[in-house]
Every structure is written in C-alpha cells, then in structure tokens.
C-alpha cells in the first residue's frame, strides 16, 4: 500500500522561527558559538511569548472597546417620560491626563534607552574580552529606575485624575460613561503595575550582576511590554476623548 504522506529527505532542517532583529551578534559568556545560539534562542522565545501575551491583552481591550461603543449607541428606558432616551453623558476628561500621557511616553523613551544601553554593553563585552584591550569605564545611567519612577508617577497621576473626577461628581457608578472611564484607566493601571513589577525584576537582575545576556533578555521583553502599555494608553485616551 502506498503511503499518502510525502516523505522527503531533509536538506536544511529548520526547527523554529528564527530571525528577530536587534540582538547583539556575539557570544556573551565566552562560550563560543553555542553560547551565542543559546542566547538567541532565549531572546527569540521570550519575544515570541511576549508577542502572544500581548495579543491576549489586546483581546481584553477589544472586548471593552466593543462594549463601550455598543453601550454608547444604546438608548435606555426613562421611567419619568416612559420612553427610550439616549442617556450617554460624556465625561469631561481632566487635563491632567495629558500630563500623565506625556510622563508615560517619557518613561517609554527611558525604557528604550535602558534597553539600548544594555545592548551596547553586551556588544562591547566581546571586545573587552580580547586580551590587552581596555574600553575604559563607561558611565551607566540608571534608565530602568527612571522608567519605573516615571511609571509610578503616571499611576499617581491617574489616581489624582480619579480624585478629580470624583470631586466633580463622576463616580464609578454615576453613569455608563464614567464607569467606562474608571474601567479602562483602572485595567490599564493594573497592567502597568505588572510592568513595574517586571521593571523591578529587571533592575534586580542588574543589581545582582546576573550575566549580561540574561539582563538583556529580561529588559528586551519588558521594553516590548512597556512600549505596548504606552501605545495602549494613547489608544484608550483617544477612545475616551474622541469616541463619544
């Protein structure tokens, strides 16, 4: 009986996705080619995992967006007039949100600088390992700490925004629109808090002087996540500001 599954000999077996830019092309632990491949494998895997995770988070916010749009266009029953009325009450967003947005974008830039600084350190590590070559002491800027600090300032700012909204009489349950403002900012804040935990873990990796490649992998995926948080926030702000 003939086999129906085509079976061919392997020319150049590809085992995984491969590729992925931006990684330093050097062995990092002095272990030669294997070490570099191991590093690339870890980086690729971590990035892939993060990308898949981001898709999951996107689906959460896609659902909230659809709920937001549907609820906005829906009439509600008014017992006083005994009729259906459009009760969507636009919430005037505090100007502080713009400052918060600026802070978060700044933190995203700091995160990128942190990532690039470590990438540079990793790239220089090979040169520094050559006998007789000295690169001198390079001043390290604590970008990671700065990113985390800006993240905390953003969260504090969001809390102040909530207080301002409450002072104006907009609470979580006041109206559908205010519920969505609290919901979207709150869930984004929870995700950002997760990012701050990741930043602390990346900082701990630096302080504990873990191998540079491990530091870079953690910082790289934390950077992806942090940038995503910034983009997500800009999206949420545009949704709240322009879609009503």
């Amino acid at each position: 009986m003939a086999s129906l599954t085509p079976t061919v000999s392997i020319g150049d077996p590809r085992t995984a996705l491969g590729g992925g830019g931006g990684a330093p092309p050097v062995p990092l632990r002095g272990g030669g080619d294997d070490s570099a491949r191991y590093f690339h494998m870890r980086l690729r895997r971590a990035r892939l995992g993060m990308a898949v995770g981001i898709i999951g988070i996107v689906m959460v916010f896609v659902s909230f967006t659809s709920a937001y749009v549907v609820r906005q266009g829906m009439p509600s029953f008014d017992p006083r007039t005994n009729s259906l009325v459009h009760d969507w009450l636009a919430v005037p967003l505090p100007r502080l949100l713009l400052i918060n947005t600026f802070v978060l974008l700044l933190s995203s830039a700091a995160m990128e600088l942190a990532r690039r600084q470590t990438k540079r350190q990793v790239a220089l590590a090979q040169t520094a390992a050559i006998p007789g070559v000295s690169l001198g002491e390079e001043k390290q800027i604590p970008w990671l700490a700065l990113t985390a600090m800006l993240g905390l300032i953003f969260l504090t700012g969001q809390w102040l925004v909530w207080r301002e909204l409450a002072a104006r009489g907009f609470y979580l349950s006041t109206s559908a629109s205010s519920s969505f403002v609290y919901l979207l900012t709150g869930i984004h804040g929870v995700h950002l808090l997760g990012g701050i935990v990741a930043l602390l873990s990346a900082s701990a990796a630096c302080l504990l002087r873990q191998p540079l490649d491990s530091q870079f992998v953690v910082q790289d995926v934390t950077g992806w996540y942090w940038h995503f948080m910034a983009i997500l926030w800009v999206y949420i702000l545009c949704l709240l500001e322009f879609v009503h």
């Binding site: 009986m1 003939a2 086999s3 129906l4 599954t5 085509p6 079976t7 061919v8 000999s9 392997i10 077996p13 590809r14 085992t15 995984a16 996705l17 080619d33 294997d34 491949r37 191991y38 494998m41 690729r44 895997r45 892939l48 995992g49 898949v52 995770g53 898709i55 999951g56 988070i57 996107v58 689906m59 959460v60 916010f61 896609v62 659902s63 909230f64 659809s66 709920a67 549907v70 609820r71 829906m74 509600s76 029953f77 017992p79 009760d87 979580l172 349950s173 559908a176 519920s179 919901l183 869930i187």
Partner: protein, 581 residues
C-alpha cells in the same frame, strides 16, 4: 547536530526535582502538570456526573427525598444545572484534552524537553485549580450555588437579590470564571510559543502529528476567546459589586426598583457567545486531532488527506469566531444578521464533513486493529456525526426558534460537545496510559467500559431530540404536572435509568485506571507500533523526555504500510530511506 543537542539541554533549564513538593505539587515538569490537569478534570467529571444524576432523578421523581440532601427545590435544581454545566464545560472538557494531554504530550511529540515557560505552566495549573476551588465553594456559602446557568445571563446573574444562589455563590462563580480565563490564557501563550519555537530538528509544521496541530489551534482559539470572557466577567463582577450598569437595565426585583439603569443584558450575550462558540471547538478540536492520530495508527494506514485535515481544523477555528449570533436568534436580532450567522454556521459543515470523510477514508481498506483506543476513536466519529448533524437544523433561525429552549438543544450539544469530547479523553487515556504509567490498561474492562458508555450515552441523549421536538422545555425543574408532556414521562424515565447505568459504568474505567497503574501488564516502549516521537523514548519518559538527547525527525507522522520498509511502520526518527511519493 551537537549544537541542537546543546540547545535542547539548555532549554530544559530546571533540574529533576527530588522532594515530593517540587516533584508532584509545585512541579515545573510539563508531564506532572499534565497529570495534575488530568486528575483535576477526573475529579470534576465525577462531581458533574453526580449533579446530572440528581437532576435526572428530580425530573422523574420530583417529590423524592435524596439522602443527605433532602428535597430538591426548584431553585436547587437550577443551581445543580448551573454547576453541572460550568464544571463540565470549563473544568472537564477544556481542562483534560488541552491542559492534561496537551501538556503531557505536545512537548514530547515535537521533540522538546519541556514547555517554553515551565514556571508559567505551573502557574496556569494552580490558577485553574484555584478557580475550581472557588467554584466548588459556591455550594457551601449562604444561599448556595448560583441559578443563572453556565451561560450566566444577566440580569439574573448580575443582581445579587435576584435569587438565593445569586449572592456570594454567584460572586464565587464569576471569580472562578475569571481565574479560569487567566489560567487558560497563560496556558495558551505557552502552547503557542512551544509549538512555534521548540520543535526538534526536522519537525516542520507539516510533519507534526495532527494532535499537535489540534493543540496548537486550540491554543490560538483560547488566546482569542478567553480574553473576551475575562472582560465580560470583570464587567459582571463590577455590576454585581460596584453598582455599575453594564448589563443591568432599570429593573424591579421583588417590588423594589434597583439603582441600575441603562445596561444591556444583550451585551453580555454577545461577549459571552463570542467566547462561547469557539469554546465548543476548544473542547472538541483536541479530540479531532487525537481521533485522526488513532484512526491512522490502528488502521495501519497514513491519515487520508493530512493537509486537508490541518486546513479543516484551521477553518473550523476561524469560522467558529463568526457564528456566535446563532446562540442569540431568540434575542430579537435583525433577520439580516440572523441570516448571516446562519449561513456562516452552516459553512462549518464543510470542513467538518472533510474531516469525517477523511477519517472514513483512512479506515477504508485498512488492517484495522480494534483495540480500546480505536473503539473510542470510532465512537468519537459516530458521535461527531450524530451530534453534528442536528447543528444545521439549529443553525436555521426558523427551526431554532421553536427548538431553542427545548431538550433538542440539550441532546445536540451533549452529543457533539460533551460526549464526543469525552470519548476523545477516554481514547487518549487508553492510548497514552502505557506511556504515562509504564503499564497497559486491562483490555477486557476497557471494552466493557466502551460498550456501556457508547450505548448508554446514545440512550441518554438521542431520545432528547425527540423530547425537544415534542415540546419538552429545558431548564424546567419539574414537568410532571405539565399534562401535555405526560406521554413523554416513560421516555424520560428510560433516560434516567440509562444515566444510572452509564454513570455506574464509569467506575469500571476508574477501577481500570488505578488498578492498572499498579497491576497492569508491563508496557513496552511502543506497544501500539506507532510512529510519533513519544514512542521513541523510554516508558515512562525521563525528566527531560529523551534522556539527554534531542530527536531528529526524518519522516512524517503517519508512515504506515510503507512499501519496501522492513516493518509496517516507519518511526519519525527512522533514518531508513523512505521513498517520496
């Protein structure tokens, strides 16, 4: 080659644990985590079956007093129904095929040492476990378990004062669902990354066993669907506890006007069913993959149309996201929307038929070995057809409207989603037990189990179609006083007795499972003469799956009866030249 082996060892970063806690409780090993999921599902299925038995008893003997429980009141009946559905859908049908067998065998079948993120894998299980505990806790809180059915429709599910189980019990239900979603999302992330990034040398995507394709596609469905249910559950919990009105309109409960206004119960239905329909495929696609595997192994033939099988599963997954509205024909949707949902739903019949014909095509002319895994695989095909054929009925709004709230739907989804998927779990257990535990399960007991379960489940769920067409409503706690249904009571009594027998038969399975772990015949490394990678390694597999090396894959997964080969099967790792066809 040395480099690949290096990579494999390095990727298996955690060493074999020695202590009991790290080895069996907070384990990072995908095999142990797979078993944890499996046994969680096994305990859940018995709770679920017990609840269904209580429901069946109440339906025909509404005044019976149950020992320890006393009388079953109408609200108790509805809470049994809610908990039965929730436990079975989430903690059995979603947990065992993907979390259990997927965790155990995906890495081994693609030649990896573990999942991509072992710590995340452990977290996935424990979050799921917490969700299970939260759900069971709902039985024991004041007011008892919730009443709103597994679909949790508001306003009933969103108003704590709406009924006795809608207080803390319903909160626990919502928390349980949210935790389950978190666990499922983390698990999906792991499955997708593992499949894309950790395949052994030579294991191209189109060389993966169809089981791996099924787990991969299920993970994608889970990633896209559980995020939506998580959002819906968050909104529900806010409506219940924070006074928001996402789902609750202006409403009066027990004569009191509630503070909510303007919410939309339909919003929940849209979000829920956007998850809910893909959930059907999350439950059954792993069984499809497994059935394809077993039909090929036990027919000693390559699977008929490997690529067609892959594309059919992908199209079923894709179409599954476009048909949620067919659960809502009763909601007063525009007939144009209903028509679109109807057409998309019936389109799913095409890839489903492709799969069915390919299974039959594989069986055709094969040298079939009727071992117990194969019996359950054939049983799966039978149930898939019997349960699936009523799908196109319900996909038509004009038929769905009279049938929707009847036992017809109960019969339909139990056959296609419940029992078919459970047959997949049984088939997987009988097939992989030798690899997992190093011993064979008792074949005679397995056959008894198969025939009792096969005949029993058909006896339970097939008549429900007739009951539904005769107008028997679903979710009613009592209908013995509805005189137009009097003539259906004998059939209902028959179903209840069939349920007794079928559930009793499951103890044969449990006995066989545990007895065989200790006393079963010792299994060889490849007792079924199969070709995939799990059968190339030791039994049970070592901590790193392949004992310090990484397999290299030269052949497809279904090389049976290959002309010129020394045996009637060629392992995926065999270097023997196999001619291309």
């Amino acid at each position: 080659m040395a480099t690949r082996e290096f990579a494999a060892h390095e990727s298996h970063a955690h060493a074999a644990p020695q202590g009991f806690i790290r080895k069996w409780v907070f384990s990072l090993d995908h095999k142990v985590i797979g078993l944890q999921y499996y046994f969680l599902a096994l305990s859940a299925v018995f709770v679920g079956m017990l609840l269904s038995l209580l429901m069946r008893i109440h339906m025909i003997w509404p005044n019976a007093t149950i020992p320890l429980l006393g009388d079953i009141k109408p609200e108790t009946y509805v809470s049994l129904l809610t908990m039965h559905g929730t436990i079975m859908v989430f903690f059995v049908l979603t947990t065992a095929p993907q979390g259990g067998f997927g965790n155990y065998f995906l890495p081994i079948q693609i030649g990896a040492a573990d999942m991509a993120f072992p710590v995340l894998n452990m977290l996935s299980f424990w979050v799921t476990f917490l969700g299970y505990i939260a759900l069971l806790a709902a039985f024991f809180v004041p007011g008892g378990a919730p009443l709103h059915g597994w679909t949790g429709y508001p306003p009933l599910s969103a108003v704590p004062s709406a009924g006795p189980g809608e207080g803390l019990g319903a909160d626990l239900w919502g928390i349980s669902i949210a935790l389950f979603c978190l666990g499922a999302l983390m698990s999906a992330l792991n499955f997708i990354t593992t499949t894309l990034d950790m395949r052994a040398k030579g294991m191209k995507l189109m060389r993966m066993p169809l089981t791996c394709w099924a787990w991969f596609i299920t993970a994608i469905l889970g990633l896209l669907a559980f995020g939506v249910l998580l959002s819906a559950a968050i909104l529900l919990l806010l409506d219940r506890n924070a006074g928001t009105s996402f789902y609750v309109p202006l409403i009066t409960v027990n004569g009191q006007v509630l503070a909510h206004k303007g919410g939309s119960p339909l919003l929940w239905q849209h979000l829920f069913w956007f998850f809910g329909h893909p959930e059907v495929y999350i439950a059954i696609v792993p069984a499809m993959g497994l059935c394809s595997q077993l039909v090929s192994v036990f027919s000693r033939k390559p699977i008929f149309g490997y690529k067609a099988m892959v594309y059919a599963m992908l199209s079923i997954g894709l179409l599954g996201f476009m048909v949620w509205g067919h659960h809502m024909f009763m909601s007063g949707m525009s007939p144009y929307s209903a028509f679109a949902f109807s057409v998309m739903t019936m389109a799913i019949g095409v890839p489903s038929a492709i799969k069915t014909f390919n299974w039959l095509g594989t069986l055709w002319g094969g040298r079939i070995r009727f071992a117990s895994p194969m019996l359950f695989a054939i049983g799966f095909v039978s149930l898939f057809v019997s349960g699936g054929i009523s799908g196109p009925f319900l996909a038509q709004p004009t038929l769905d409207i009279p049938l929707h709230d009847t036992a017809f739907v109960v019969g339909h989804f139990h056959l296609i989603m419940g029992v078919a998927s459970i047959f997949g779990i049984f088939a997987a257990t009988y097939y992989w037990f030798p690899k997992m535990f190093g011993r064979m399960m008792n074949e005679s007991l397995a056959r008894w189990h198969f025939w009792f379960t096969f005949v029993g489940t058909y006896s339970i769920f097939m008549p429900m179609h007739y009951l539904g067409m005769a107008g028997q409503p679903r979710r009613y706690s009592q209908f013995t006083e509805l005189h137009y249904l009097d003539r259906l009571i004998p059939l209902n009594t028959f179903i209840t007795f069939a349920a007794f027998v079928t559930i009793a038969a499951q103890f044969i399975f449990v006995f066989n499972l545990f007895w065989s772990m200790k006393f079963g015949k010792k299994a060889s490394d490849n007792p079924w003469e199969a070709t995939t990678l799990e059968w190339t390694t030791a039994t049970p597999p070592p901590h790193d799956n392949f004992g310090g090396h990484t397999p290299i894959v030269y052949n497809g997964p279904y090389e049976y009866s290959v002309p010129g080969a020394p045996r009637d099967y060629v392992m995926q790792t065999d270097t023997t030249a196999v001619p291309a066809h």
